[in-house]
């Protein structure tokens, strides 16, 4: 059993991701955010649980559905929002947008617009750390969709033969864009693929932040002992279409309803309340504080200057 403070911290992260996504989706609908925006709604417990199990020296590799990973790693909400708005103060100075945020201060090696591409990059970060003799774990977030790209088995094999400290976090949200996982794989228990490469692999309930956290702590310990890599398949469900403009009509209503009844934010609250029946007010306070932080981030972002085209052209001369 975890102490109350741990459960509250996990709740705070899960809620922050949820509130950030909802607020930014509103900005998107207002036409203030352009391009592709892949919401992390429904998967919040995975980023929150995994990142809580990591230390400040550790790395993560994110993907196109990456806002949750950034937040769980402690990214600055103002700079994140500014990047979504394409502002000069954003993480990429307006060069990247939603799919390309990286944050060296929190060891976030970056999101990615190419499904699966981050997997070998994470393996390389772990390889570099090993050559330098550093105690660092690298958690690589990717999806069921990415698991059908060749770099997944290749990179898993590299990490396996070199015994690297990598946690492969396969977020099985059951859709590769609009394609249901069961139609593109014979065995939907994707963690079993890791077993074929001789690495410790197991499924977790990706909607339960406490379970994700517990299993991630074990995975991190395994990696630090030198027995990595580890593959975690976090079973979950997207609560929206592939991106904000995808209504997700292909998602069966009963299935969506089932997973919404196991909503990660509600479940995280439930974990706190199960330990402390009188925690409701504290959770409400957390929500108010987080909402205020997010509003401050939005204000910072909207007030921030746009990047200067002239300066951009000068700085990219050498490309």
């Amino acid at each position: 059993m975890y102490p109350r403070a741990t459960l509250v911290d996990l709740y705070r992260t899960v809620y922050t991701i949820r509130a950030f996504e909802n607020r930014c989706i509103k900005l998107y609908r207002q036409g203030l955010i352009r391009g592709y925006f892949h919401p992390y709604l429904g998967q919040e417990a995975i980023a929150a649980g995994v990142c809580a199990a990591l230390g400040p020296q550790d790395y993560i590799v994110s993907n196109h559905r990456g806002h949750g990973h950034c937040i769980a790693r402690g990214a600055d909400l103002g700079r994140m929002t500014a990047e979504l708005l394409g502002k000069a103060t954003g993480y990429c100075g307006g060069r990247g947008g939603s799919m390309h945020i990286a944050d060296s201060e929190t060891g976030n090696l970056g999101a990615n617009g190419i499904v699966g591409a981050g997997i070998p990059i994470g393996v390389g970060a772990a390889l570099g750390a090993r050559i330098r003799g550093e105690d660092r774990v690298t958690a690589v977030f990717f999806s069921d969709g990415a698991s059908n790209n060749g770099v997944f088995p290749e990179a898993m094999n590299l990490a396996a033969i070199w015994g690297l400290a990598v946690i492969f976090v396969l977020e099985n949200n059951q859709y590769a864009v609009s394609t249901p996982v069961e139609s593109v794989t014979r065995d939907p228990d994707l963690y079993k693929r890791g077993l074929a490469y001789g690495i410790e692999s197991f499924p977790v309930d990706g909607n339960d932040v406490v379970e994700v956290y517990a299993k991630s702590c074990e995975a991190a310990a395994t990696c630090r002992r030198g027995d990595g890599p580890v593959l975690i398949e976090a079973k979950t469900y997207r609560q929206m279409g592939h991106h904000v403009n995808d209504p997700g009509l292909y998602m069966p209503r009963d299935r969506l309803a089932h997973y919404k009844s196991r909503d990660p934010v509600e479940m995280a609250a439930g974990r706190v309340l199960a330990l402390d029946h009188s925690a409701s007010a504290d959770l409400q306070d957390i929500r108010s504080v987080v909402d205020t932080e997010i509003e401050a981030a939005v204000t910072f972002a909207t007030d921030s200057p746009a990047p200067c085209p002239q300066q951009f052209l000068e700085r990219t001369e050498g490309y």
Partner: protein, 338 residues
């Protein structure tokens, strides 16, 4: 960026080494100098590489810095990107440039864009050593000259040395460069020999080298077309045509200043390229020459390039696809008289 050392003039005492030995020296020196430099590739550790470029390095630096990989080009290149963005300086060997096609996502979508996306907060000090060009009957999937693919991509640097001197000096600079460098060797050059200084030196990226001075015509060539063009230049000299041979050495950045200065002087340019003509680097160089020197040229710049076809296996057919010395002589003579 690399330390600047005066190039082209080799200060005595010099030694004669093979191209592959020069590359080996560059790797060894940079690994001795900087513990963040490490090597990855297929068969590079125990075996020392198919072209023996990494011979002896595992014995000196151990298996943690000279790493044999499975045949997983996309992923070991991706791993090199991941190591590079977290402070290492990986040098990856991709056995044939034809195989680099398996790693293009990592090179083009990842390595070439990371600095950009991070608004210059991050960088990718990565070298991809690979080799291209025809050998002797290696057929269409082991003989391509694909430099134009990389030339086209903002965020990548591209080097194609022709001599042991350039190979060593440029590889050292490429390893010290904070951006991804595609380092294109040529399979027919590995056993060619040349002089290099005894003292340490680097060759700066983006500096062309005038390999032969002349007044009638500028011949622009890189990689294995350099020795062939120099041989053609000797034949042309005997026929009364005085040729200047300019080797850009690095294609990105491209030293247009040296190229344009030479062509301004000779007023005639012939660009010799092993790669197929369509969409090639030669076409871009020709367009730069025309754009900058139109009206001052005695004749339009000419391109002598590989034929637009996959490379055939049969040696006579292979030769028919690639500019030969006699082709260069003929093209230069026609241009000099035009």
């Amino acid at each position: 960026m690399a330390e600047q050392v005066t190039d082209a003039t080799i200060i005595a005492p010099a030694r004669t080494v093979k191209y592959r030995e020069a590359l080996n020296e560059a790797l060894r020196e940079e690994m001795q100098r900087d513990p963040s430099v490490f090597l990855m590739g297929i068969g590079i550790a125990e075996r020392g590489g198919s072209y023996r470029v990494t011979e002896g390095l595992m014995d000196e630096f151990g298996p943690s810095r000279v790493i044999d990989t499975p045949i997983s080009e996309a992923s070991f290149t991706g791993a090199a990107v991941g190591a590079a963005i977290t402070g290492m300086r990986p040098v990856v060997e991709i056995l044939f440039v034809d195989f680099a096609l398996l790693a293009l996502d990592q090179l083009i979508n990842q390595a070439a864009k990371y600095r950009f996306f991070t608004n210059d907060a991050g960088c990718v000090p990565l070298v991809i050593r690979t080799q291209g060009g025809v050998g002797n009957g290696l057929a269409a999937q082991h003989s391509q000259s694909l430099e134009a693919l990389f030339y086209h991509i903002p965020g990548l640097k591209l080097v194609a040395p022709a001599t042991p001197y350039d190979a060593k000096g440029l590889l050292k600079s490429a390893i010290r460069c904070d951006d991804p460098v595609v380092f294109m060797e040529h399979k027919l050059l590995y056993t060619t020999a040349g002089d290099i200084p005894t003292d340490e030196y680097c060759v700066e990226l983006g500096k062309a080298d005038t390999k032969r001075t002349g007044s009638d015509l500028t011949l622009i060539a890189w990689s294995n077309m350099v020795p062939r063009s120099l041989a053609a230049a000797e034949a042309l000299a005997a026929a009364g045509v005085d040729v200047e041979v300019v080797d850009p050495r690095s294609l990105v950045p491209l030293d247009t200043e040296t190229i344009l200065a030479s062509v301004s002087k000779t007023r005639r340019a012939l660009i010799v390229q092993e790669a197929v003509r369509r969409g090639g680097v030669a076409s871009d160089i020709a367009s730069i020459i025309h754009e900058e020197l139109y009206g001052r040229l005695a004749a339009p710049a000419r391109i002598l390039a590989g034929r637009n076809t996959p490379i055939p296996f049969n040696l006579a057919l292979e030769r028919a696809c690639i500019p030969q010395e006699a082709d260069i002589v003929a093209a230069a003579q026609a241009l000099a008289q035009g």
